[in-house]
């Protein structure tokens, strides 16, 4: 895989691995490879969930004449 998968792609692959392993069709070596891949995908997903630092930023008001009036909900 050239690009790192997105969270959704990684989770979908993890689900496919579960299905493949639980079907019992995989050979022993394949099963161990799948398990390793599953572990990697799990950690990738978890890292994606943890990576972003939650925060709220304010977009600074843009300059220009049209923005001089302060934002407000109440009109005079």
């Amino acid at each position: 895989m050239t690009n790192e998968p997105t969270f959704e792609e990684a989770r979908a692959e993890l689900e496919r691995i579960v299905a493949k392993l639980e079907s019992g069709d995989a050979g022993l070596e394949e099963a161990l490879d799948l398990w390793e891949r599953g572990e990697a995908l799990y950690h990738l997903c978890v890292s994606k969930l943890d990576k972003a630092q939650g925060r709220v930023e304010e977009l600074a008001a843009a300059g220009g004449a049209s923005e001089q009036e302060p934002p407000t909900d109440s009109q005079p």
Partner: protein, 405 residues
């Protein structure tokens, strides 16, 4: 008021004033009528006898200068904010001195709720016909947004509800808030600009939130410019404007309509706890399935080992029984041979019996011999010859009496 031309040979030429007067008198024949538009650039200077403003199409670029006598304007006691939507009843005219075209207003009426409803319905139908609200235009929301844009007024409730819901469900969420005007004639442009700016900042989904309000309060969210801006937004938009029963047009153009700001917050992020639980469960299933597979391989191996250990004895047993069978066959061989020989002898005897003349004689035939030779044709005999006749049982001697050839 006829405009007289100057004559230069065969060319008729008008002075500027004559030209303006001529056009003005032609325009003055046009009827008095109603024009709808937004008021901008209102100039009502002390001392001026005339009030000036420009009337603009809400969504278009067309504009029209309007004049009204100061006394008439003041008598209407209008509070015309910049951008207010009005109906102007007036006559088109040309201001001769400057050659400028304008609408001379006789009266001005702000657009009331009834008119606004009609306008809204008309706009809704036109935009729907254009396909702006079509279901196939709706885009799915990203499952895990990297940056969420929140476009909202400074009113604490809607803003707080969206942020609190998002952070409660998905603590790592990043939110970029753009505050805008959410009320009044300038709100649509302000909101459209906020949408653009959060897009430029790289958000991958936008929540447009506004708490409840009166019909007038929510009107900017049905403004054609804003509805088009929502439809044209490069990332999916969740619209949460007003209460459940309010359906401003921007709700119809948005990719998803949320009934409340809280609902919008729930729509844009997944539940973090549920997500991590699901992932952990998937991981456990992978590990358990891989372990079961390995256990099976071990059991298979053990079976193989047992079969391997049993193999020599099994082989010996097979050889012994084969040997035993051979021996049995060997033991039975002489008797079998004897039996076969006897059967063969019987069959030879039968065939021999069939060939012997005795059997034929038994059936009533006779053999005639003369001087020991078997007689096969009557021509070999002559009357008076002595012959011996052999029957199935016994025989007799005889003399030939007569021969039939």
């Amino acid at each position: 008021m006829k405009a007289e031309p100057l004559v230069y040979g065969d060319r008729k030429v008008y002075t500027v004033s004559a030209f303006n007067r001529g056009v003005a008198s032609w325009i003055a024949r046009l009827p008095t009528l109603w024009v709808e538009g937004e008021v901008t650039e209102l100039r009502r200077q002390p001392g001026w006898q005339t009030v000036f403003f420009t009337l603009k199409d809400p969504a278009g670029d067309s504009s029209l200068p309007v004049t009204m006598p100061r006394a008439g304007f003041d008598a209407l006691r209008l509070e015309l904010a910049d951008g207010a939507l009005v109906h102007v009843y007036g006559r088109p005219e040309l201001w001769e001195q400057r050659g400028t075209f304008q609408l001379r207003a006789l009266t001005i009426e702000p657009v009331g709720i009834g008119d606004a409803l009609l306008r809204l319905e008309r706009l809704k139908r036109a935009l729907a016909a254009e396909g702006l609200f079509a279901p196939e235009r709706k885009r799915p929301l990203p499952f895990l947004p990297r940056l969420i844009g929140l476009v909202t007024g400074s009113d604490a409730a809607a803003r707080h509800d969206v942020i609190a819901t998002i952070q409660g469900r998905y603590p790592p969420a990043r939110i970029l808030v753009a505050e805008t005007l959410v009320q009044g004639p300038r709100a649509p442009a302000s909101i459209a600009r906020a949408l653009e700016r959060v897009c430029e900042a790289g958000v991958d989904v936008i929540v447009l939130a506004r708490g409840g309000g009166s019909f007038d309060d929510l009107l900017p969210f049905s403004d054609e410019r804003l509805v088009r801006a929502v439809a044209a937004c490069p990332v999916p938009v969740v619209s949460a404007v007003g209460h459940e029963q309010d359906v401003p047009l921007c709700d119809l153009a948005a990719d998803v309509r949320a009934s409340t700001p809280t609902a919008a917050g729930r729509l844009v992020v997944p539940d973090w706890a549920e997500l991590t639980d699901t992932l952990a469960a998937l991981r456990a299933r992978v590990a358990a399935a891989a372990r079961r597979r390995a256990d099976r391989a071990l059991r298979d191996l053990e079976q193989d080992r047992i079969r391997l250990a049993r193999a020599p004895a099994l082989l010996l047993e097979r050889k012994r029984s084969a040997l035993e069978a051979d021996r049995e066959r060997l033991r039975r061989a002489p008797a079998l041979l004897l039996e076969r020989s006897r059967a063969r002898l019987d069959s030879v005897e039968g065939r021999l019996r069939a060939l012997s003349p005795a059997a034929t004689l038994q059936r009533g035939y006779a053999i005639v011999r003369r001087e020991g030779e078997i007689v096969r044709a009557a021509a070999a005999l002559a009357p008076g010859d002595r012959v011996a006749v052999e029957l199935g049982a016994g025989g007799f001697g005889a003399r030939v009496e007569e021969v039939s050839p």
